[in-house]
Amino acid sequence: MEPAWVALSLSLKVALWATAVGGIVGIAIGWILAHTRFPGRDVVDSLLLLPMVLPPTVLGYYLLVLVGRRGTIGAWLESTFGIHLIFTWQGAVIAAAIVSFPFVCKSARAAFEEVDPRYEQAARVLGLGEAAVFFRITLPLAWRGILAGLLLAFTRALGEFGATLMIAGSIPGRTQTLSIAVYEAVQAGEDALANQLVAIISVTAVVILVAASRLAPARIGQRDLGRR
């Protein structure tokens, strides 16, 4: 398989996993922020947006220090499970998930806050437990808004470079995603390959944008969406 297509399939794999992992975490945290009131809630909210604002290399460095072989979490992972995240595609997924989950968290919280609480109350009175209320009422009614966040997260994960390079390195077939492959090709003077990769990335980006505009129309979080 040509290196360009290998890089593309790896990028997609990493981005999909990162969106799934970041998506679940982001939705959960978005729900907690929308439904609970505790002192310092706004501080937590701002902290969670930090990965969106911090330079990727800064994030990558923090991750490296924490998750590397000698880091607090990394050492524990290695001694307990024998897992070593640096230079693995799973490490790439974690880096990409961390930079992209704030998008999901933000839009999930907004979407959940738009859901009329009386629907959830009606469901409770009809005998449902909290989990059932969430999956049958809250989530379906908030879905549109969350989807917009997921798409943003996916595109962010797909383009992730700085933190990924630091954590996962640039190993063809394992962690060399499209963005990193372009960087390498340019460094090595392989212009033809660089052009090929850039073309693939551009086309992929356009396809995603078109799909996004079809799936999640611009009207997100309308008040009347949950109040027909």
Partner: protein
């Protein structure tokens, strides 16, 4: 049904605070909570249903305590087994009439399918003449149809009492009369106790076996 209600709750803060302090004892199959808008009737009903947690007091139904602040007892809404009708019905917009009505028949993590055929559901759909509308969505229904759907939904869950918050307020006058009769007939047939909130004296006349008047958050003696 014996209703023993004694609740206190402060809503809001500072100058805009509203103090709810309602206490009454009633033994009736049709209880009406009557009073002007903003008196605190809905809050009282929500407290009985478990949708609102009072700061103090207790609620007991037929001798069974569902809320008691002193002993920290608070039965969750799903375990109180009341049917509740919201003021604008709160029909689930993403589900069809059939799915709405069948909603309480399953407590799992997935909604009933559109082709659900639990016997109880079909019966109530037929009783309220909703079977032809079963596959429509709430936004496609008229006010009276929505009210009946909401009622059917509450009844499918086999409640031990019905709590209705201004069930007729959103309907126009001719429709009100018809639905009042339907509700009375329903009660006569099922024997289901009910608490009804209304600011309309006509409802007091028709339904008020026992009437509790609430004004400014308190029961008028």
């Amino acid at each position: 049904m014996k209703w023993d209600v004694r609740i206190a709750r402060r809503m809001g803060r500072g100058e805009r605070a509203f103090d709810l302090d309602v206490a009454f004892d009633a033994d009736a199959s049709r209880l009406v909570l009557f009073g002007p808008s903003g008196a605190g009737k809905s809050l009282t009903l929500q407290a009985i249903a478990g949708l609102l947690r009072p700061d103090a007091g207790h609620v007991a139904v037929d001798g069974q305590v569902v809320f008691d602040q002193a002993s920290r007892r608070n039965v969750r809404p799903r375990d109180r087994h009341f049917g509740y009708l919201f003021q604008d019905y709160a029909l689930f917009p993403h589900l069809t009439v059939r799915q709405n009505v069948a909603f309480g028949s399953t407590h799992g993590l997935t909604n009933p399918s559109r082709r659900d055929d639990v016997a109880r559901v079909s019966e109530w759909l037929a009783t309220f003449e909703l079977d032809t509308l079963a596959d429509r969505f709430p936004e496609q229904l008229s006010g009276g149809q929505r009210q009946r759907t909401a009622l059917a939904r509450a009844l499918v869950a086999q409640p031990r009492a019905l709590l209705l918050d201004e069930p007729f307020a959103a309907l126009d006058v001719p429709l009100r009369g018809r639905l009042r009769e339907e509700l009375l007939a329903l009660q006569a047939r099922t024997g289901l106790p009910m608490i009804l909130i209304s600011h309309d004296p006509v409802d007091v006349e028709l339904f008020g076996e026992r009437v509790v008047t609430i004004e400014h958050g308190r029961v008028r003696p």
